[in-house]
Symmetry: C2
Subunit: 408 residues, 2 copies
């Protein structure tokens, strides 16, 4: 008998029928003798609907009030799932974040969990009751409802699993696991049985949107075994664990991520002197724009081209800020590109193996794909290429590194 | 400067535009220097939508879970109104029932308010912040969200006004006050400037569905001046006050109520012996059916006809129970009628004036309207008549007792 935290996302809660399906899944685990604590999201689309209504009244209103409104989405689904569980013969009890209590800081709309009271949940489990907890929300120090930001239900699931010292945190979603890459781009993509937290972080942050990044960080930090599974198709999913469980027989590369949401800015012909990076990136940061990749090349004339990427939603503002800075610095100008993508190889195996980068560059070159930017970390190599080569690059790398189904 | 509690119903919260309209009304009161605490209902139709969804999953589920779900309706509108107030330049802060805290007993779906913490609301008012409180809900002793039952937002408004010792509790609705009778039946019906709590109770319970009965009882008990006004049309509304403010110059009759929702059952030819009323009505009460009027006539043969009315929704069950009882008691049978209505004259003036009943019966007789049942209390006289005479009876009595517009 294990204590399992199961998190079901918005698609799994999308209709009365789906909620009943989730209840039957939970009932099965209960029948097998496991204790289950369930975390749910709002019905898919509901949080957007609520926030859209709120914004139509006052787009710049208090984030506390947006939270008050948005938190109702999960409050509805916890009640509905508890009712469905009761009907399926499983004793259940719903809890909002404040009712648990899941205590957060005061950062409304992006609150962080500070602590969780586990007494009621433990007492319920002991009494054979399945607690159904609202994801995405908690209570701030002044008693207000605070939400954790988009995807926060995953974080709730992992945080509860950590607080309850659960044996596993299962994240049910509409995909049946983590894949070597996006199957829509490479049909030969293969589900991974196992992946490390670090690899998952790189894959998630680079665009394989299976899990919220923060929840993976959290799971890694508190060593909560995390499993991604499908609500709709039975299967083992993908287990996300600590690195120590990997072995030398594991493949070098776990997956290929890509991100279409980036835009590239180059401040060209900047005088090459100390502090120039800060002078260019400072104002971008001040404008609350996050920077992803950064490359600086010193030219022969003692001036430098400074290139960085930002999310496309911030592109217009970033260009404006960069142009202003370029003028102040006496740079030659700002070049921009939005028709680019970032493609990344991810794998803990890289740590102990040389030659991955050169294999990657050779494979891309063989297909005539020009690399515009390169950045590396311990477990990933990212390149920026022209967007039109995305599918070709992913398939080429997927094959080159032996990631196809049936190859391991 | 006064402290005013304003309650806005579901129709007033029915759309983004209407919520903005309410915000402008509240802003006007704030600009006049008043402190305002606002209580709101869910958007009209929303509570029904939520409960329908819950019932579709598990019609016999825990009432605690139904409350968890239903309470979200007001949680959305408090947030939306707070945002609209902010936009209108009024500092505002929303509170759910648990956040206030409005403490209730454990009777989910029909909870009663036990106490209210007023510190935060008072602190807000002192700080120039307008609290926006969710009606219809509170927190039970174990921390669960509990709802007060249908129309409970009125009760929340009155209870808050009592707890805050507010100068007035204003109930904003889609009618501009309490009328001498339903203007759809008698176009000459007149808005009353003033009415006593007792009269309002009789009018409300008899079918003039302006205010929830419990809120009027509450207001009377705690002597909270209550005013019914329209959200959409400016005007003084109707003030509901204590009896002592009435004078001998006041009209004898305040209004004429009627109720189409009754059905009549007669257990005929029952042996007339002690305990017969209990024998007939006991099983009806056991079946959770509320009885309204009761009349017993002893016939010449020592047997009695026992007549009572129930709500039409309970009619089928009541007939079944009564037939069973009739058989057991050796009665002749059960006669039933659903084509009846109850018409009632209401007025505190009746207390000090004889002859009201006879004037009523004469007026009805002059129009050929047969009276089937009569029941009286200190401030009302009710008759049951055939449904087809409803409009004629109301207009006849309205004229006979001088209630037309312009007559006072």
């Amino acid at each position: 008998m294990a204590l399992i935290v199961q998190k079901y996302g918005g698609t799994s809660m999308g209709s009365v029928e789906r909620i009943e399906h989730v209840a039957s899944k939970v009932a099965k685990f209960r029948a097998e003798g496991h204790q289950v604590v369930v975390v749910v999201s709002a019905m898919s689309g509901e949080t957007d609907r609520l926030l859209k209504m709120a914004k139509s009244i006052n787009p710049r209103g208090s984030s506390r009030e947006f939270d008050q409104i948005a938190a109702t989405g999960e409050q509805v689904t916890i009640g509905l799932l508890a009712l469905a569980l009761e009907k399926a013969g499983v004793k259940a009890r719903s809890y909002t974040g404040p009712q648990v209590a899941i205590r957060t800081d005061t950062s409304h709309m992006k609150a962080r969990i500070q602590s969780i009271d586990t007494e009621r949940l433990r007492a319920d489990c002991e009494a054979g009751i399945t607690p159904v907890v609202a994801g995405f929300q908690g209570v701030s120090p002044d008693g207000s409802t605070a939400t954790l930001g988009r995807g926060g239900s995953d974080t709730t699931g992992v945080a509860l699993a950590a607080a309850l010292k659960a044996d596993e945190c299962q994240i049910y979603t509409d995909v049946d696991g983590v894949y070597t890459t996006d199957p829509r781009v490479e049909p030969k993509a293969r589900r991974l049985d196992k992946i490390t937290f670090e690899e998952m972080l790189e894959l998630a942050s680079l665009g394989s949107k299976v899990l919220q990044i923060r929840s993976v960080e959290f799971a890694g930090k508190y060593k909560v075994p995390l499993r991604v599974l499908s609500t709709f198709v039975d299967g083992p999913g993908t287990l996300i664990t600590l690195d120590e469980e990997s072995s030398v027989e594991d493949p070098l590369i776990s997956g290929i991520a890509f991100n279409r949401d980036e835009a590239q800015l180059t401040v060209a012909g900047v005088p090459d002197r100390p502090g120039i990076a800060a002078a260019i990136l400072g104002p971008i940061g001040d404008a609350n724009i996050e920077i992803d990749m950064i490359v600086q090349n010193v030219g022969a004339d003692g001036s430098t081209d400074f290139t960085f990427t930002v999310n496309r939603v911030d592109y217009d503002r970033a260009v404006e800020v960069a142009r202003h800075t370029a003028q102040e610095l006496g740079a030659k100008g700002v070049r921009t590109a939005t028709d680019i993508v970032k493609v990344s190889l991810v794998g803990v195996g890289m740590r102990s193996h040389a030659g991955i980068a050169s294999q990657m560059f050779k494979a891309l070159a063989a297909e005539g794909i020009n690399i515009q930017m390169i950045s590396t970390s311990e477990i990933k190599i990212s390149v920026v290429i022209s967007e039109k080569y995305l599918e070709l690059a992913v398939r080429t790398l997927h094959k080159s590194f032996g990631l196809e189904a049936g190859t391991t």
